[in-house]
């Protein structure tokens, strides 16, 4: 693996970034007295922001892997999916802790629990907690890969709930959410379009971990991936199927040169 993918792939890198974000946005301002006039509110908002952006980061990994299967960086980032997901949950719990403090104790907390605004946050956080508790090999084995995957698709529901929670947190506007929502939706859309086309026209795609439905043909005879240049001989019929079918394929698929 080449730089920077080899660094990014390292466990220490993930740990540094994931813990570092908390240190930089929560601990450094707290220690240096830069939390402003309403320090608890600042901690509340910062921890919530970190949580939701971390969740956004982990949800962008799958689409990125589908879209850029050849990128070593994306592959390296995908190694940290579990760590990033668990981190999102931990910052979410921290955010809830600050919320309890901000409400000033039990009475305030109970009063806040009557608000749909809080329900959305709590529902999202509950999902993250379940997903965190099942983020281990033992759970995958005992649930079975298929069920486990189904369960962990609830991360998308959690993201939807939490982005809504974040968007209505501001006073009558949801401009903050669009920076997260639209990129995530865009990535998912691109991923869906790509997967659908690949499934329909090529049956499979060289994504790490994805099972190929036509295992008997070598990879370089099934498609032509830029910039790999070595290509086996393929029939005219096969060549026809290699034609780019949508604009989104152009960066990755080109027709086999004569």
């Amino acid at each position: 693996m080449k730089w920077p993918a080899n660094i990014v792939a390292h466990r220490l890198f993930a740990l540094t970034v994931l813990v570092g974000v908390g240190i930089w946005f929560l601990i450094v301002p707290a220690v240096s007295g830069n939390l402003g006039a309403n320090p608890l509110e600042k901690l509340l908002h910062q921890s919530g922001e970190i949580a939701i952006w971390t969740l956004g980061a982990v949800l962008s990994l799958t689409p990125l892997r589908v879209l850029f299967p050849a990128s070593a960086l994306v592959v390296a980032l995908n190694r940290h999916r579990r760590a990033i997901g668990i981190t999102a949950c931990i910052y979410g719990l921290l955010h809830f802790g600050f919320h309890i403090l901000y409400e000033g104790g039990w009475d305030g907390l109970v009063r806040s629990l009557t608000k749909p605004f809080i329900w959305f946050g709590l529902a999202g956080l509950s999902i993250l907690i379940v997903l965190t508790l099942t983020s281990n090999l033992w759970s995958i084995r005992s649930l079975g890969a298929k069920n486990w995957k189904r369960l962990h698709r609830f991360a998308y529901l959690a993201a939807a709930l939490l982005i809504y929670h974040q968007s209505i947190a501001g006073k009558g506007h949801w401009h903050t959410a669009r920076w997260l929502l639209f990129p995530l939706l865009g990535l998912q859309l691109a991923r869906i379009v790509k997967t659908l086309y690949i499934d329909r026209f090529f049956q499979n795609w060289p994504t790490p971990g994805r099972k190929h439905s036509v295992p008997d043909r070598p990879i370089n005879q099934r498609y032509y991936v830029w910039p790999r240049s070595e290509a086996g001989t393929i029939s005219a019929e096969q060549r026809l199927r290699l034609r780019p079918v949508a604009l989104c394929h152009l960066p990755w698929i080109v027709d086999r040169p004569e």
Binding site: G36, A37, N38, P39, L40, E41, L43, L101, Y102, E103, G104, G105, G108, R111, S112, T114, K115, P116, F117, I168, A169, G170, K171, G172, H173, H175, T176
Partner: protein
């Protein structure tokens, strides 16, 4: 003849160190400001506060708020909801002080009244007979609160001078519009300019106040320089900042936050612990300056000013007319 280089001779002064003419002409005020101790703000002509008339003033002892701790000046001037200057609370302090001038500033008083006028703020202060200091509780709709020593004059005085017609039932307050200077106004997140309104009885109540300063100094830009409304028994958003127009009108005016989210921000917006905001409880408030573990203070009806204003709302369902 070729123009001389600025520093050709040692005795030459660059233009930048010479007192601007307008300042020179107002040098007594200038000296007084320096004497009062805000050398910093006075040296930069750009951020020179406009409403300097009337300082120093003295505390009106009926509005002393005995035993209540004032919020620090630093908190009051660094934690501001002023969406014209950005959506974050720390943004206005930064973005409103990049050379935005409130000098000169003309306030228009108009609508249904016998004495409409356009008047410069300092002239207005002189016209109403100077300013006084009042310590007021300030309760934000976001459930935090401050105690602020405002300097200004009762709104009733201004209304008295304007002589509203008998058909005038409401007063509309309009803030400035400056899309070039204001990052917030360049987005269409709110219907600019910011407008607020009061009923005429509310506006003539002894508590309704027009502030030109706080902590004995002219208002800073982030606090609504040079002239703003202060309605202490209502949520903070009713107290429109940096006013350019006050009008007497017949019908209830459209007001900015009410227009944007009428289920969350009512026209009356009286502080009321038993009427919740849809997203949070209004039963208690976080007092700014309390620190991390300070807990919350129970919110009072009409922000503790029930004695002065409760009669205005007799027979009115405060739950419906929130």
């Amino acid at each position: 003849m070729t123009p001389r280089e600025p520093n050709e001779h040692a005795w030459q002064l660059p233009d930048s160190v010479v007192l601007p003419e307008e300042l020179y002409l107002r040098r007594r005020e200038f000296l007084r400001i320096v004497g009062l101790g805000f050398v910093g703000s006075a040296l930069f002509a750009d951020s020179l506060p406009a409403a300097t008339a009337g300082f120093p003033d003295s505390l009106n002892s009926s509005f002393k708020l005995d035993g209540v701790k004032l919020t620090s000046e630093d908190s009051i001037t660094s934690y501001n909801n002023f969406y014209e200057w950005g959506f974050g609370k720390e943004e206005p302090k930064e973005s409103s002080n990049k050379g935005w001038k409130t000098e000169p500033w003309t306030l228009e008083i108009g609508g249904l009244c016998a004495n409409p006028r356009k008047i410069e703020v300092n002239d207005l202060v002189k016209l109403v007979g100077g300013i006084e200091r009042r310590n007021y509780r300030h309760r934000c709709v976001e459930a935090w609160s401050m105690v602020i020593p405002w300097d200004g004059f009762p709104l009733a005085k201004l209304i008295e001078l304007s002589k509203p017609d008998s058909s005038a039932k409401f007063v509309r307050f309009t803030s400035f519009l400056d899309r070039e200077a204001c990052p917030g106004q360049r987005s269409n997140s709110l219907p600019w300019p910011y407008t607020e309104g009061l009923t005429l009885p509310e506006a003539t109540n002894e508590l309704a106040f027009v502030a030109t300063g706080l902590y004995g100094k002219p208002l800073r830009n982030q606090n609504g320089a040079p002239i703003r409304l202060v309605v202490p028994w209502k949520y903070g958003f009713k107290s429109a900042k940096s006013l350019v127009k006050i009008e007497f009108i017949t019908d209830q005016p459209r007001t900015t936050w009410n227009e944007l989210a009428s289920d969350e921000y009512g026209f009356y917006a009286n502080v009321n612990p038993s009427v919740d905001h849809p997203r949070w409880s209004q039963a208690s408030e976080r007092v700014i300056g309390g620190g991390l573990f300070s807990g919350r203070r129970p919110t009072e009806l009409f922000n503790g000013y029930a004695k002065q204003v409760a009669h205005l709302y007799e027979g009115l369902d405060l739950r419906k007319n929130f």
